[in-house]
Symmetry: C2
Subunit: 195 residues, 2 copies
């Protein structure tokens, strides 16, 4: 049975090993330093599972078990040729084919009619504020990264996320206004039910 592309953490592992051989714990460190854990969910349990999985399918191989000082043994892994091929192919797929995801907010907003309009307005405004905060935090981060001389390509995913957050904020603002003015289609019935 061939390798199944599920946990994106496996992709991150391949990408890291494409740079140089590492042991799992070092991968985690590196991902933290580079703020990759903001884009790909990282935790130890999954990391070791995923590494084992990749090794089983020979996309990576245990290249050495070193012993520095008196610390416990560490297994250092290296990427194989099939691994490199898999990395590129997976990456292409991830970008080219939009995956079906289920954002929590979509689920929430689809049922907003269950809340009285006042409450709905309040929570939407709360979210709008939260999104605004994330947006300014991101702007600050971008400023810092650019200031450090990092090229745009190094933080392109943040650029994307900012664009998405801006779009969400715009939509939230529209919805809040429409609700406040009773201008959202079906408002009368909505308002009537909750009285």
């Amino acid at each position: 049975m061939s390798f199944k592309r599920m946990n994106p953490l496996a992709l991150a592992v391949l990408a890291l090993l494409a740079e140089r051989p590492m042991h799992p714990y070092e991968m985690a460190q590196t991902m933290r330093e580079r703020h990759q854990e903001e884009v790909i969910k990282l935790n130890y349990g999954s990391l070791y599972t995923v590494v084992e999985q990749l090794a089983k399918h020979e996309l990576i191989t245990a290249s050495a078990t070193q012993k520095a000082g008196n610390r416990p043994e560490r297994t250092v892994y290296a990427i194989t040729d099939t691994g490199t091929a898999e990395l590129h192919d997976w990456l292409r797929e991830l970008i080219a084919v939009p995956a079906k995801e289920y954002p929590r907010f979509e689920a929430g907003i689809s049922m907003v009619g269950l809340l009285p309009p006042d409450d709905a307005l309040a929570v939407v405004e709360q979210r709008c504020a939260a999104v605004d905060e994330q947006l300014t935090a991101l702007a600050v981060l971008l400023e810092r990264l650019a200031g450090m001389g990092l090229p745009q390509l190094a933080w392109i995913e943040l650029d994307y996320r900012m664009a998405m957050l801006r779009a969400e904020r715009a939509w939230l603002t529209w919805f809040a206004t429409a609700t406040r003015e009773g201008a959202v289609g079906g408002y009368d019935h909505w308002e009537g039910k909750h009285r």
Copy 2:
């Protein structure tokens, strides 16, 4: 131990039972009819697990086991008062507080530098086309729903999704152009590496 809000499917169950008592299979049917399964992942295994969970915490109760015709027994559930409270509170949280999610595309685009610029351009253009298709499909669906006399509030989540898709398309278009023209920050180094 109190009820843990994890699977949004549980929220859908509460919402359906807020309308009228149902048995699990009927919930699935109703969700399908209303295209709710596009917003909330539905499958039988999870459905029955989630219903059991809700019952254990007394957010819903088995109100009857009917036997229509000679079919197997069906357990009909009804929402309780605590259940209704939970529904509203969960809904408020879901809308007000942006959840940390890990969209696959962000993971992918963050590593786009590993692909040669030509390949990158190609896959981004593929995605752009795919997003475009989704967008027109959505537009058609909206047309139909509005034509059926459904108020905007009934398909507000599709409105939101369209806004997000439009934003993504815009970003993809920008990135494709920038790549084609070598205008993305760090392009020279990128192009140099892959030769």
